[in-house]
């Protein structure tokens, strides 16, 4: 059995790399009015927060707005954070809620800007490698397939219901454990597992041609 299929997929960055104690100190300094500590928290988490937001809103400008809004909320409400949960699950809860709000606002305007959005999506899917997975691959045919898969993943994510999108993004991009996702999304662990399974199944169905192609290309 291939090693990548073993159970070691949890992101180190999401767990050990977060250093709860370090975060706790930084949070305390921010609470005391230390703006440099706020910048440190931003530096530590903004890229991951942005990736999570991108997975939900699927548009760079909206993701930037969502991350901005999330960090502003963190700054304004830092006094209410008492450290009962880890800082990053609290942050991701905010990022996720803000991102979902963006999606909802956007969907309300959907009928107005449908044509423009469709064009934008088309250009993203047909882009020149913007979403290419960073896998080492010398085979041009396979690389093209991976490029296509990257674009198709974004489209497939967009088709998922919000709650499915949230779990798969937090799990696959952020590498959160079931427990952490349950905390961040404020739902039971069993719900997280069920949503994740259904999200994966839907993604698989949407990406079937690409995944089958991968299989074929390996032979």
């Amino acid at each position: 059995m291939n090693q990548p299929l073993s159970s070691s997929s949890k992101s180190e960055e999401a767990t050990g790399g977060s250093s709860s104690k370090g975060d706790h100190d930084l949070v305390q300094r921010v609470q005391a009015g230390d703006s440099a500590a706020f910048r440190e928290l931003f530096d530590k988490y903004h890229r991951r927060a942005f990736a999570v937001a991108m997975g939900v809103v699927k548009n760079q400008d909206d993701a930037l707005d969502a991350v901005q809004e999330a960090f502003v909320k963190v700054h304004k409400n830092i006094d209410k954070f008492h450290g009962n949960s880890s800082f990053y699950t609290w942050l991701y809860r905010i990022v996720m809620n803000v991102s979902i709000d963006h999606v909802r606002k956007k969907s309300r305007r959907k009928s107005l800007d449908f044509d423009e959005r469709a064009l934008h999506e088309e250009s993203e899917v047909a882009g020149d490698g913007a979403l290419v997975p960073n896998l080492t691959n010398a085979n041009p045919g396979k690389a093209a397939l991976r490029r296509e898969l990257g674009g198709a993943i974004q489209t497939a994510l967009a088709e998922l219901p919000e709650h499915h999108r949230a779990v798969i993004v937090l799990r696959e991009i952020e590498g959160m454990s079931y427990e952490e996702m349950a905390e961040a999304l404020e739902v039971p662990k069993g719900t997280v597992m069920s949503r994740l399974f259904h999200a994966r199944k839907k993604m698989q169905a949407a990406l079937a041609p690409y995944l089958a192609g991968e299989e074929a290309s390996k032979d």
Binding site: M1, N2, P4, L5, S6, S7, S8, S9, K10, R39, F42, D43, H46, R47, R48, F50, A51, M54, G55, Q60, A63, L64, V67, Q68, F71, V72, H75, K76, A130, L131, V132, P133, N134, L135, R146, L149, G150, I153, Q154, I168, V169, R171, E172, I173, S177, Y178, M193, L196, F197, R200, M203, Q204, L207, L211, E214, E215
Partner: protein, 175 residues
Amino acid sequence: MESAKADEKLQMFFDGELSPQEEAELRRELEGSTENMAELRQWEQMREAMHGAAAEWTAKLDSDALFARIEAEVSAPELPSEVERAPVELRVVPGGRERRIWGGLATGFAAAAAIFLAVLAWPEEPGTTPLQMARGTEVVAVDFGANAGTVFEVEGGAGQPLAVIWIDDEEMGMP
């Protein structure tokens, strides 16, 4: 039910959520299952593709510009929200009820006066209204037209003299 349980376990294996013992057991079981292996491989492909996509997204990110936006918003003077805005104050005015009553009455009188003046100023249709004179008006002459009549004076109820203009019913010269 069994299938759902197996799916759940397979997913937990993939996500590293099983205990080491459960994981070792499942790993042995999976060796002979091409279907489950294919499933795991597809999940792995999706995960790799999503990681790749995320890496691309964040590579383009201008962190300093984003922080500048956040800093600007955080340091901007906070505008009160809709809820926090000062509510409209209701002041208690002493004698307000009386003021309202007198105000209403004054308005009523003003309206009545306006109607009265309008009636007075209304142009009369010629020949339809009898002669009207205010008390104390001196009558210099009376035109009886085709009728005959008499003007005389009687004493009023308050001892004041009242002028009476008496017009005969029959027109002069009529048979």
